[in-house]
């Protein structure tokens, strides 16, 4: 997967988790939780979706690396390159 495909996947997953939110203005370099109403249980939904869809395990120590859209793409790119 390319970086832009990964970004689209993340946005699609967040859209599924937060169906009431408008994600069209989500900035890549600002914490996602500062832009939309997302709590820790919602965040765990992202982790679960990555596990279910792509078999990707994100260790708890790395959760902060998914804080922004840009950092999430950077973190996942090598892990999803083979997909």
């Amino acid at each position: 997967m390319t970086a832009s495909q990964i970004r689209a996947v993340i946005l699609e997953v967040i859209g599924q988790i937060l169906p009431d939110e408008d994600l069209s203005h989500l900035k890549g370099d600002v914490r996602i939780r500062d832009q939309v109403e997302m709590d820790s249980m919602d965040f765990l939904d992202i982790i679960m979706e990555l596990r279910k869809r792509y078999g990707i395990e994100v260790p708890e120590d790395d959760y902060m690396k998914l804080a922004t859209l840009d950092s999430a793409v950077a973190y996942l790119e090598p892990r999803m390159a083979h997909l």
Binding site: I17, L18, P19, D20, M41, D42, L44, M48, R51, K52
Partner: protein, 421 residues
């Protein structure tokens, strides 16, 4: 102290009244719609597809959960939670209560359930079956969904209510139990407003259908609307339904002070146990329960105007309740007798509350809704005052007695009086 009319004289602070009703049933999403369909005989029982079982016969509600919840809330919560929220919100609105202006730490939520957690447990097991039963795919949402207080707890989150909340596991007596608990908490002065009743999400789990079938107690009929047939010779089991019904309960002095509309006064209730069998009901325990409720209300059996039966349409259950009614009321009761499940199915934890709600308008319109699907009346269930197939206009309705019984021999009776000063 017993007044000349038979009712114990209580001061207004000790009298509990119903000032709001919120509900969803397979044939109505508010009291007016539901009552209209009960009186005019509109059933809405239909085929419903259940995982592993295919099409079964069930009562399904079509309320709009997005009226009070966001899409995210629905994703996170349970069907029982949504049903509870809808019913509580509707009840509070119906009562004309402005939650923003009252002390929400003095509001309590008491919701009767038959069971809770089966739906999401089955769903989780199905989900992980798609991943070779690897338990790391169990959702982090699972625990808060299946804790027993979930349906009532979701209401607190939705409505900002900070008083006590819990569910009451009382099998199919749950709806009466929620109402009774609400009355008791008001009498104990633990709350000023009680939201009491019952809910059920049972149809969304295959287990209840499968187990009833294994017991030989799941209704079958080529026409779903004829499947639930209490008192009919050819009845063959239960139609499982979902639903919810919550009453706003207040002390009479508070209700009068705010000029609330009063649907009726809860003047008696009782719960007891057969202590005999896991499944089979017992007329003796049921009769003792009705007698106890009458005694608590200070009433003789002849005072009751309507007996709304629990009867579920099983060959084992219906005659037991009829026998119990004969023990308490004699062979020729003065009270009219009817049944609501024939039109909505068995809404399990919601049943008692929904069925009582469906009869409350009788105090005003003096109409007793009918029992349908009785083509060949079982002689063991025959009463001259059984209201069959067509609604009956009567002279006066003073007291309604609502029975609800459940597995493990749990019995409950609630008596509501037409309100008058």
């Amino acid at each position: 102290m017993v007044a000349p009319g038979g009712v114990r004289r209580l001061n207004d602070r000790d009298r509990i009244v119903i000032t709001g009703v919120g509900l969803t049933a397979p044939n109505g999403n508010n009291l007016l719609e539901y009552r209209t369909h009960l009186v005019n005989v509109k059933s809405c029982i239909r085929k419903f597809n259940v995982r592993f079982m295919g099409d079964v016969i069930a009562g399904v509600c079509d309320f709009d959960p997005l009226k009070y919840q966001k899409k995210k809330d629905l994703r996170r919560g349970t069907r029982a939670g949504s049903t509870s929220i809808y019913s509580c919100q509707e009840a509070v609105a119906d009562a004309g209560l402005d939650l923003a202006s009252i002390d929400r730490s003095r509001v309590g939520i008491f919701i009767g359930i038959t069971e809770h957690g089966n739906v999401d447990t089955e769903k989780q097991i199905y989900e992980i079956s798609q991943f070779n039963y690897d338990t790391k795919f169990v959702s982090h949402h699972y625990n808060p969904r299946i804790v027993a207080n979930n349906p009532a707890g979701e209401v607190t989150l939705n409505m900002g209510i900070t008083g006590p909340h819990y569910t009451l596991g009382a099998a199919c007596a749950g709806g009466n139990m929620g109402l009774i608990q609400g009355c008791q908490m008001l009498k104990l002065d633990e709350v000023d407003v009680a939201l009491g009743g019952g809910v059920s999400e049972t149809i969304h789990a295959f287990g209840a259908f499968a187990s009833f079938r294994s017991e030989g107690a799941l209704a079958a009929h080529e026409d779903p609307e004829k499947a639930c047939r209490p008192f009919d010779r050819d009845r063959n089991g239960v139609v499982v339904s979902e639903g919810g019904c919550i009453f706003v309960l207040e002390r009479l002095d508070a209700a009068l002070a705010r000029s609330a509309r009063i649907y009726g006064e809860v003047v008696g209730y009782a719960m007891n146990s057969d202590a005999l069998d896991f499944i089979l009901p017992d007329s003796g325990g049921q009769a003792r329960c009705m007698s106890l409720a009458l005694r608590k209300a200070g009433l003789s059996p002849d005072a009751i105007s309507i007996i709304n039966t629990h009867a579920t349409g099983t060959p084992q259950g219906d005659p037991q309740e009829c026998k119990a009614i004969r023990q308490v009321f004699g062979d020729n009761p003065r009270a009219y007798i009817n049944n609501t499940k024939c039109m909505i199915g068995h809404t399990m934890g919601a049943a008692a509350a929904l069925e009582l709600a469906g009869n409350l308008p009788s105090f005003q319109d003096r109409v007793v809704h009918p029992t349908i699907n009785v083509d060949h009346l079982d002689p063991d269930c025959a009463f001259d005052t059984l209201v069959l197939n067509k609604a009956r206009k009567v002279d006066k309705v003073d007291y309604i007695l609502k029975n609800a019984f459940g597995m493990l021999g749990i019995n409950s009776t609630v008596i509501v009086k037409r309100f008058e000063r």
